[in-house]
């Protein structure tokens, strides 16, 4: 597992998200109203919608394509829908954020 610095928490709007591009695809990094941060795959389990573009509420995001609601903590779809996205380990050290990517290590070897 390797940690990659991605920037400062202030770079993300409250109740908003930013993208991180990786060779594995895009990762969405969210900042909630309570100043918590979460990282998940930027790919809705329903039809692959970009979750980073959705509306953030509590610890969840609503996908902009078809309104699935995804938990930022577990990556699982909430309500009647079923499905999940990968959650990405994220470290917050005084506002400096890094994410851990596993598969990249292998790719780099």
């Amino acid at each position: 597992m390797t940690w990659f610095p991605i920037g400062n928490i202030a770079d993300i709007p409250l109740r908003g998200a930013r993208c991180v591009k990786t060779p594995e695809g895009k990762i969405a990094v969210f900042r909630t109203a309570e100043n918590e941060v979460f990282a998940i795959e930027d790919h809705c389990p329903h039809k692959g919608g970009p979750l980073s573009q959705g509306i953030v509420h509590a610890k969840a995001v609503t996908c902009p394509l078809h309104n699935w609601v995804i938990s930022l903590e577990t990556g699982k779809a909430l309500g009647a829908d079923e499905g999940a996205v990968r959650t990405i380990p994220l470290r917050n050290e005084d506002g400096l954020l890094s994410i851990a990517l596993e598969s990249l290590m292998a790719a780099a070897e």
Binding site: F4, R18, P23, G49, P50, I55, V56, A58, V69, A108
Partner: protein, 816 residues
């Protein structure tokens, strides 16, 4: 192994049959349906409320597309079966699709009877059978001209009332001496005629049609006595005939209908028939209750239960015209062995008649007061001896045994097996037990689980009374639909309280109105943001994180996560310079698709999010601003070329369209707002299906509103006629502001107008100059904050973070 079940026809009977079949034998059949109508299964009984405007088409859909997908059913829409090959066991549609079957169900319904008179094939002559007919009538009603309905039966009168309600001058021709002679006795028929005449509908009984006159298009009707009644629309509602031609060509036994046994089996062991096309026990049926009974029996046989058999029963008839109470059941002809009990209350417009034989009810006609219909039906069905209560029988159930009962007690007194919903054959006990067992709390739930009041809806009141009886005070039929799960308040209350309490931020609204969630959800936040933008244009700071992505980044998100961009082209007018600039942008950014939109704009699709600011920068240099094609706000004003170019143009429609668009661009509205200006009534800009439209005429500008051409198709309503362009602009702006201030978020103008009432809107905008001016001024004030081009703002650096990734991680970094 699954067997192949093919169904020809997708009306209410086969729809119900499938519901039973999926319950009884799920997975037994692979089902394919061929529907000659290009749509899903809808509630045909409710077409009259759609015609009168009380319901929308979506509200009467029984099975939406999702239902067919969920159950793995293949539905061919718009496919008419033209051949059945019984040897090969295949059917073939007019589009050339051939499907094999193990079991075939024919449910082709009926076809309206067309009077064999000269001129019956002219344009303007229609029948009343399906949604297409309703839409044709609605279109014709726009003209506000004269309509003639031939046939004073159930369908004809519902059509007449609907057309009259839509502003047409309607005459009903009925060949018999009194209306609805098959369901009503002459006395009730007379009361009905008086009521309809009171509503401005002309009624001619004993009127026999000799010919339809006109020149390719209907101009009138000639009667046998030589009278000519002018009309531009003729609706034939003189009865239906079972649609049997397919079955006849296939060599099945056919009489009036397709002959079936009491198990719905035709003369071919692999083929069943049901619905209006089927003839069972020598009878054909047109009301929904027996058709649903056929559906139950057919499903049982398909599921392997050979014991199910169709049993004839009389079905009560009701007229679905708002404000007319009418109930008819059974046999009410006079006869020597019959007695009758009659109650007349002329001043109250009430007439009741019971026909008795051997102290048992065999027929009932109720007019004006029909609450006891269910009770009389129950007495008739059970053949109850009524001699004990003969004196008071006609006064109804409430007067039996002592003091009069209130309506609630009357419902409570009904036995468990009393039929509540005639269409679906649902009795009181079933409704009560389902409510209790499944813990149902809303009318919609009860409809979903029991089907009671889910067809014609006339027993809704009874069902609600049963819910109150069963649930007590916890059931509140007038309960407001909450905005979302975050609050118990409805949109209207929230809007009112925002103003009343002076709430000016989303957190303030959530705090003061006791939101149940910490920061709302994707439903309430965009709504609140709009309400605050609209109500406090100068003070409220737009919360971009509460806007849907399209409004946050000012472009339209596509399914692959790219965006589309539509530059504003005022009134749909462009020039070589602009087109060249667009062409250059397309080349430079390798934009995959360039498309002309329905609103007379150019759409550039497939742009990466990071490229958006650069695309806007280039477009901005050519003078373009955002076309707001993504906004719940003013979209486009479509125009025709008008008096500058067109030989028919009466006014400068292009100029007016551009003027309106330049005045109103940038404004946010509850839902999208699309407009158009046509230079003459030929209406090339299609202004009469827009949210707001203008049709120019010689004498000025006819302002239209509340049209729709999306999920719903609806012609506009006329707001009024004004003389000058200035007045037209003022009225349109005032109307828009009224809509902005009153509608619920995502409610299009036609839905808002239906809720508020067209007359109320006309009164405030056309009739009250002070009100109009105040609306106008508030819009103008709001525009001083709204008319900022979002594209140039972002080109200058606003919201930079939106368009750049936070970080990019490559393989190189991992190797470090």
């Amino acid at each position: 192994m699954t067997e192949k079940l093919v169904i020809v026809g997708n009306g209410m009977a086969p729809g119900r049959m499938l519901e039973h079949l999926l319950e009884k034998a799920p997975g037994r059949y692979e089902v394919t349906i061929f529907n000659a109508e290009p749509r899903v299964n809808y509630d045909r009984i409710m077409l009259s409320p759609v015609l009168s405007g009380e319901k929308a088409y979506e509200e009467i859909i029984i099975h939406g597309d999702g239902w067919y997908i969920k159950h793995g059913i293949t539905l061919y829409k718009g496919h008419r079966i033209v051949a059945v090959d019984r040897d090969a066991k295949t059917v073939t549609s007019d589009h050339g699709v051939t499907e094999r079957y193990d079991k075939l169900v024919i449910a082709t319904g009926s076809v309206p009877f067309i009077l064999p008179v000269p001129g019956n094939d002219m344009r303007g002559v229609i029948t009343y059978r399906d949604l297409d007919d309703v839409q044709a009538m609605l279109l014709a009603a726009q003209s506000r001209e004269k309509a003639v309905v031939i046939g004073g039966g159930l369908l004809g009168l519902e059509a007449a009332a609907g057309l009259a309600g839509r502003g047409m001058d309607v005459t009903v021709l009925h060949v018999m001496p009194t209306l609805m002679d098959r369901q009503l006795d002459p006395a009730a028929g007379y009361l009905l005629q008086r009521e309809l005449e009171g509503r401005g509908i002309k009624i001619l009984c004993k009127a026999s049609t000799r010919a339809i006159v006109g020149n390719g298009k209907v101009e009138g009707i000639e009667l046998d006595d030589g009278r000519v009644i002018p009309a531009t629309l003729v609706v034939m509602a003189v009865g239906i005939r079972p649609s049997v031609s397919l079955a006849r060509e296939a060599g099945l036994a056919v009489n009036r209908g397709i002959v079936v046994d009491h198990g719905m089996q035709t003369s071919d062991g692999s083929i069943l028939a049901l619905g209006e096309c089927a003839e069972v026990g020598g009878m054909v049926y047109g009301l929904v209750a027996p058709l649903y009974e056929m559906a139950r029996v057919a499903a049982a046989h398909l599921a392997g239960d050979r014991s199910a058999a169709f049993v004839h029963s009389d079905t009560p008839t009701k007229l679905k015209v708002t404000g007319i109470e009418l109930f008819s059941l059974g046999d009410f002809a006079d006869g020597d062995d019959r007695e009758e009990i009659v109650l007349r209350d002329a001043s109250a417009g009430v007439y009741k008649r019971l026909v008795l034989k051997d102290n048992r009810i065999i027929g009932t006609v109720l007019y004006g007061e029909t609450a006891d219909g269910a009770w009389f039906n129950d007495l008739k069905k059970k053949q109850t001896d009524i001699s004990e209560m003969r004196e008071t029988l006609i006064f109804g159930q409430a007067y039996q045994g002592g003091a009069p009962l209130d309506p609630m007690a009357a419902v409570a007194a009904l036995p468990d097996d009393a039929e509540i919903c005639g269409c679906n054959g649902v009795c009181k006990g079933r409704i009560v037990s389902t409510i209790t067992q499944k813990g149902l709390a809303s009318l919609d739930d009860v409809r979903a689980h029991t089907k009671a009041s889910a067809s014609c809806g006339s027993c809704t009141g009874l069902v609600e009374q049963l819910m109150t009886l069963t649930l007590g005070d916890s059931y509140n039929p007038a309960a407001v639909q909450p905005m979302c799960g975050c609050t118990d308040l409805g949109h209207d209350d929230v809007r009112r309280l925002i103003k009343a309490k002076g709430l000016k931020t989303i957190p303030a609204v959530m705090q003061e109105l006791e939101w149940k969630t910490s920061c709302g959800c994707a439903k309430c936040r965009p709504a609140l943001n709009y309400y605050l933008v609209c109500d406090w244009p100068d003070e409220y700071a737009d919360d971009y994180q509460s806007r849907f992505i399209n409004e946050r980044v000012h472009a339209n998100i596509q399914k692959d996560g790219t965006y589309s961009v539509v530059p504003r082209m005022w009134g749909g007018v462009t020039n070589a310079h602009e087109l060249r600039a667009i062409a250059d942008v397309v080349d430079k950014f390798e934009i995959p698709l360039v498309k002309v939109t329905g609103g007379q704009r150019i759409d550039l699709l497939g742009i990466e999010k990071e490229d958006l600011p650069a695309v806007w920068a280039d477009l901005g240099k050519a003078g373009f601003i955002s076309g707001q094609a993504y906004a719940k706000g003013l979209r486009t004003v479509k125009t025709c070329v008008g008096s500058d170019w067109c030989r028919f143009g009466t006014q400068d429609s292009t100029g007016l369209g551009i003027r309106i668009e330049k005045f109103m661009w940038g404004s946010w509205t509850p839902a999208k707002l699309k407009m158009a200006v046509s230079g003459c009534p030929r209406n090339c800009a299609e202004a009469t299906c827009k949210d707001i439209g203008v049709v120019c005429v010689d004498s000025g500008f006819e302002i239209h509103f509340a049209g729709a051409a999306g999920l719903d198709i609806k012609g506009t309503e006329v707001l009024g006629l004004v003389k000058t362009e200035d007045e037209a602009l003022e009225h349109i702006v005032a109307l828009t502001q009224m809509y902005r201030e009153q509608a619920r978020y995502l409610e299009r103008i036609y839905k808002w107008a239906k809720r508020i009432g067209l007359d109320e809107i006309r009164r405030q905008i056309m009739g009250d100059a002070d009100k109009r001016k105040a609306f106008y001024d508030r819009f103008v004030f709001s525009q001083t904050f709204a008319q900022v081009d979002p594209w140039s703002e972002r080109v200058s650096g606003k919201d930079k973070h939106e368009f750049r990734p936070m970080a990019t991680i490559g393989y190189g970094e991992a190797a470090e």
